[in-house]
């Protein structure tokens, strides 16, 4: 069953951008965007596109799950003989995305939401507090604790590699 959706909405372009941050390729970002679109239709219909906070949380959580389930690819498969090797920046981006996704998974839902909104969308603590219905003080606490946990987890992940 196919459903058309208002692709003119800015919300879906944002969903794709959030997804691309983590998936680091078009196909992964597209799959994630379709999944989020489907869930949004099931969840709240046409109006859900106005709830960017909800869309962002769903998108990031979906990408984290997808990266966790991703099967490791052998190095040989990444560089087929008839193509130029992938640029170094892409390889670093993919590895960094998986590591960051693994670290974000260790945060609470609220810590993750605050860190994502602050780091990637540059939202003020006041705006985050309003959208999440929390006090500004609580949002700042989530931010600091989230960063602290990420620092510890990323440090351990780097040691393990």
């Amino acid at each position: 069953m196919k459903r058309d959706i208002d692709l003119q909405s800015e919300a879906w372009a944002n969903v794709y951008r959030w997804a691309y941050r983590f998936m680091r390729n078009h196909d992964g970002a597209l799959d994630a965007t379709q999944e989020v679109m489907l869930r949004s239709v099931q969840h709240g219909g046409a109006n859900i596109k106005n709830d960017l906070g909800w869309l962002r949380r769903i998108t990031v959580n979906h990408c984290i799950d997808a990266l966790r389930k991703k099967r490791p690819v052998a190095v040989e498969e990444l560089e087929p003989p008839n193509r130029q090797p992938s640029p170094v920046s892409e390889a670093i981006g993919t590895e960094a995305a998986e590591m960051i996704a693994a670290a974000l998974e260790r945060l609470t839902e609220q810590q993750r939401a605050v860190v994502i909104a602050k780091t990637y969308d540059g939202e003020t603590f006041a705006k985050i507090a309003e959208s999440m219905n929390l006090s500004i003080g609580t949002v700042k606490t989530h931010y600091l604790r989230g960063l602290s946990t990420l620092r510890n987890v990323l440090g351990k992940l780097r040691e393990d590699r």
Binding site: M1, K2, R3, D4, I5, L7, E10, W12, A13, N14, Y16, R17, W18, Y20, R21, F22, H26, A29, L30, T33, Q34, M37, L38, V41, I92, G93, A96, A97, I100, V115, K118, T119, Y120, T124, F125, K140, T141, Y143, L144, L147, S148, L150, R151, L154
Partner: protein, 162 residues
């Protein structure tokens, strides 16, 4: 500024929500407090690491999702069951129609019937016993009735009501 005062504004400092005056005061404290300096530096590195994940522009993203449609897939088990039911239904229908067409009477096998509801009984008498009388009635009605199959079913329905 002391360590406790720094802790109160640390989130604003890392989140870049402090005025330049306040930032200068913090930097002065950090230059003289190694403990706070280590803590703040490590958290800033974390923010920088997170920032490695850049993304494409809004315009590029809008172009990438053009033509997207949602395809709502049923679970695998559900799809398998539905497909099996469809196949079974087609096979059953084919079997029934096959038997009906194999056994359906030709025109000469059907007794000419009058306009009354006795047609059903009259035709049943001519039945070989292996054919359901309703099929014979339908065939007869089609032969007689200019409104074709629909009319045949309507008459059949009336016969049952009597």
């Amino acid at each position: 500024m002391n360590c406790n005062e720094l802790a109160e504004v640390l989130a604003d400092y890392l989140g870049d929500e402090l005025s330049s005056v306040d930032r200068k005061a913090i930097q002065q404290h950090l230059s003289s407090c190694p403990t706070c300096a280590r803590e703040v530096e490590s958290l800033q590195e974390t923010v920088t690491t997170l920032g490695q994940l850049d993304t494409i522009s809004h315009a590029d993203a809008a172009g990438q999702i053009r033509g997207l449609q949602i395809v709502q897939r049923r679970p695998v088990i559900q799809r398998f069951v539905l497909a099996s039911l469809r196949i079974a239904a087609v096979l059953a229908l084919g079997f029934v129609l096959g038997r009906a067409s194999f056994e359906s009477p030709t025109t000469s096998d059907v007794m000419p019937a009058g306009p009354s509801g006795d047609n059903r009984h009259a035709v049943a008498q001519a039945s070989t016993g292996t054919i359901h009388p309703d099929w014979l009635v339908i065939a007869e009605r089609i032969n007689q009735n200019s409104s074709g199959l629909a009319g045949a079913f309507r008459h059949l329905a009336k016969d049952y009501k009597r």
